[in-house]
Amino acid sequence: MADDRQSIIPIESDADVVTARQRARAMAGDLELTSTDQTLLATAISEVARNITTYAKRGEVELSVVKDDDGREGIQVIARDQGPGIENLELAMQDGYTSGGGLGLGLPGARRLVDDFNIDTAPGQGTTVTLVMWARPNARAA
């Protein structure tokens, strides 16, 4: 049981990105997140995990079940790396800005997909992105 509620996926290749989002979807299904929310979460994970392989080469995604003060459960995703960090966070959070040859939708896009989004980064200090998707109140079973 406890094993199902926490999981760390090393991210070193594009296959690991797929593994991370599939693992998260399975956890989200167990928490009875709606299928739309599962998809939004899986897509957000894909974006932040790809940032790891693109900019830091390697890192990890940690998945866990968290609870808020009202007892509501959610899936927390922590994507961390020891890569170069982000020099200008404000710029990186703007739609369309990219330094990696992509569309620049990764971070701002991921922020729009989930309920809570937090990023902790500094040049040379790596990057940690934390996402949470909460179970909807009406999905609560008796």
Binding site: S13, D14, V17, V18, T36, L40, A42, D95, L105
Partner: protein
Amino acid sequence: MAVPILKQGPFLIATIQAALTDTDVLQLQDDVMAQVTRHRSRGIIVDVTALDVMDSFVSRSLQGISRMTRLRGAETVIVGIQPEVAFAMVQLGMSFEDVLTALDLEEGLALLQRPRKEAGDGGG
């Protein structure tokens, strides 16, 4: 996992079977371009029904296939985008404005079989 591409008359049909890694997606781009050239195809259908996630990389790559094949005189139609996936794509900021889409394979083929306008796409 490689995406099988079937030739159906003047069209190609690429049916994605399972979750794609970025490498798979790039491979699909190359394969489609090679086959379009080899068969002088007029249209391509990419069936994404099996995809439960279309992130910015996959979306951008499919957009790339659409643009590249158009330069070769072939139209690409993306079919089978799941409702949840469509929702996520819009939230993400992928609007697919210049990409043809259809509900399913049948609708996609119907779209490709329409008489062509000779005046070009008039995109802007």
